[in-house]
């Protein structure tokens, strides 16, 4: 599965947001939004990122786009370092990587027609106006909106699903290789969501795109992804092929997350929530394993030592877990392999 040069490789990505110091001269508090996140994406696949609210999913997406400047970490796209000597410039990065946001209304300028919104990106990259508008029409057709009917409309004259299609068209206008979908279908009605998801899959196939699919919806992630990355409080807790992670989750957090999914069978009721309480404060995350405060298997080693991700055997490809139970010499009483 691992190619010598992954399409996108992310190493030790870190972002701490400063919070106003509580008292004068006091140490500056930091929200550890994304801490030491590493992963690879193979060309043409979809990597799903799941996790609870505030776990750093969206921040990871924005860091990759350099909408937020990372504190640390290396990103390589097609084996070229990003914003490093001899690597890709910000402009080149953004040509190759585009993003679709959750709020379809807020992500379109209310004062611009659909065509002008889509044509803005190419225009910014020096495409002449007529050509950019022509291209916008083509893209509208591509996302299933009749260009002559929708091109001159303003965002408020469209439904949520139509607006999100326009947002896809806008993201595709620069012919990117990688599209980051940040909760891109989460705000849509279920019926519309299915249509839009199918469109996304078609576009991916036809345009040979690679997706980074960020969502809190476990079912949708299972449907679209090839690999899944599970995040908890800014850390990657589990990464692996989608079927493996969903059918044999190794990390206690992944297990709890999957168990908390509502069942489609009304006979099966979840009696007790597998995850209780809220995630701890990311300003002062627990020592050692960040999940230990909510983990049923937590032991003293979990508080003292942070578990490094280890490979676990998996038939479908690379699968890593960051849990002491999976580290043979960790000292945890439960040993899993």
């Amino acid at each position: 599965m691992d190619t010598p040069h992954p399409f996108l490789s992310v190493r030790n990505l870190r972002k701490y947001f400063p919070v106003r110091a509580q008292r004068l001269g006091g140490a500056r508090l930091m929200v550890q939004a994304v801490d030491d996140v590493s992963f690879d994406i193979t060309e043409g696949e979809t990597l799903g990122i799941v996790g609870e609210s505030g776990c750093g999913k969206s921040t990871t997406g924005r860091l990759l786009m350099h909408l937020i400047r990372p504190d640390e970490g290396e990103v390589r796209l097609c084996n070229k370092p990003v914003l490093r000597e001899g690597g890709l410039t910000l402009r080149e990065l953004r040509r190759n990587m585009q993003m679709v946001f959750q709020d379809s209304y807020a992500s379109l300028n209310p004062r611009l027609t659909v065509v002008d919104s889509i044509a803005f990106g190419p225009r910014a990259h020096g495409v002449p106006k007529d050509r950019a508008r022509e291209k916008a029409h083509e893209l509208l057709a591509l996302v299933g909106l009749e260009p002559h009917l929708f091109g001159a409309r303003y965002p408020h004259q469209l439904s949520g699903g139509q607006r999100q299609r326009v947002n896809f068209a806008r993201a595709l206008a620069l012919e990117p290789k990688l599209v980051i979908l940040d909760e891109a279908v989460s705000a849509l009605d279920k019926s519309i969501e299915a249509q839009v998801l199918n469109l996304l899959m078609e576009l991916k196939r036809d345009l040979k795109l690679t997706y980074l699919f960020i969502s809190h919806d476990l079912n949708v992630v299972q449907y679209v992804s090839d690999h899944v990355l599970v995040m908890y409080l800014g850390k990657v807790v589990e990464f692996g092929p989608v079927d493996e992670v969903y059918h044999r989750p190794r990390h206690p957090y992944t297990q709890a997350l999957l168990a908390s999914r509502p069942s489609m069978d009304p006979e099966i009721k979840i009696e007790k929530s597998p995850l209780s309480g809220d995630p701890p404060n990311p300003i002062n995350p627990p020592s050692g394993c960040r999940f230990r405060t909510r983990c049923v298997h937590a032991e003293s080693v979990c508080a003292s030592l942070e578990p490094a991700p280890v490979n676990v055997s998996s038939p479908a490809g690379r699968h890593t877990v960051a849990c002491h139970m999976w580290i043979p010499s960790s000292g945890h009483s439960r040993k899993l392999t």
Binding site: L67, R91, S107, L112, F120, L149, G151, H156
Partner: protein, 310 residues
């Protein structure tokens, strides 16, 4: 204006509250209206704003075309006909304390008074608007620097600041204009900055940044159009404030100087005659009140009409 007034207008216009419902609007090509067309249409159905606009248009037109209206010379004094009452033959609105025709003086006075209302606002709009855009769009240290400096000006009440600046520059129309402009710049800067900051945080600006566009292109295409509306509404209110402040400066002798026809100055010179001819003495005040009121109401109407969410 009182808030219920604005709310009432909003209801009459049927402006949807909150985010628009995603309704399928069967609109074909060619019947699209731009934002400003929609705003214009709404204003056309707002009687208060229309009436105020009409009154102001009348005032401005009269002031501009004053020499061609066949009015008596506003500077010709005649002590034999001092303080003639309103309705006197030949002097429709009477005469002032030096026997000059009041109607003529009020119309000619509009030239200076209205100009002193509008010019400082336009100047402040250019300077403060730019500063606010830069501060709001850049954020961080640039924002800090610009906004803290404007805060210093904010510490003083606007009239006091205008008097202080005009006083130190010396009397005269140009100095009064400059003083009022300086007073308004921080105010417009702050409004522009706050709206820009708000717009900048929207996803569509984020998406524009993600497309690799430069700051200038983003400001021009995505920020300016969205910031203009609220800032314009605020600027309209400032015109009425400007008229009042400039009248005030002239009243205390820091603006226009006698024998110029200017509403604030006229109010001052007629002050001594208030017991002899109260109606005449109040006329310049009425003009100030009407003009400033009209700008205020128009601003209210604009606010309602612009809240279209397109």
């Amino acid at each position: 204006m009182n808030p219920s007034e604005g709310a009432r207008i909003t209801v009459e216009l049927g402006v949807p509250a909150g985010p628009p419902a995603a309704v399928e609007v069967p609109v074909g090509p060619g019947v699209q209206r731009t934002y400003w067309q929609t705003v214009g249409e709404r204003l056309a159905h707002d009687p208060v704003t229309l009436a105020c606009g009409f009154i102001l248009l009348l005032m401005v037109a009269a002031a501009v075309f004053a020499p061609w209206l066949g009015l008596p010379d506003p500077y010709h004094s005649n002590s034999a006909i001092r303080l003639l009452p309103i309705g006197s033959p030949g002097h429709l609105l009477g005469t002032d304390e030096l026997g000059r025709d009041m109607l003529s003086r009020l119309i000619y006075g509009g030239r200076l008074s209205l100009a002193m209302g509008i010019i400082p606002v336009l100047n402040a709009l250019a300077v403060g608007g730019t500063l606010g855009l830069v501060a709001g769009f850049s954020g961080g240290r640039v924002n800090m620097l610009i906004m803290r400096v404007t805060d210093v000006f904010y510490a003083f009440p606007s009239i006091l600041l205008a008097v202080a600046i005009a006083g130190s520059l010396g009397a005269g129309v140009a100095n009064a204009l400059l003083a009022i402009t300086i007073v308004f710049i921080p105010q417009i800067t702050r409004v522009t900055e706050s709206v820009t900051t708000q717009i900048r945080a929207m996803d569509f600006v984020e998406a524009a940044r993600a497309s690799g566009a430069g700051a200038f292109a983003i400001i021009r295409t995505h920020i300016l159009g969205n910031v203009l509306g609220p800032v314009l509404v605020y600027a309209t209110v400032l015109v009425s404030v400007s008229i009042v402040i400039s009248a005030g400066l002239s009243f205390i002798g820091l603006g226009a100087s006698p024998p110029a026809a200017e509403w604030g100055l006229m109010l001052n010179t007629l002050r001594d005659s208030i017991f002899l001819a109260p109606a005449i003495s109040l006329l310049p005040g009425c003009m100030i009140f009407i003009a400033s009121m009209c700008f205020n109401l128009i601003s209210d109407g604009l606010r309602g009409a612009m809240d279209v969410r397109l």
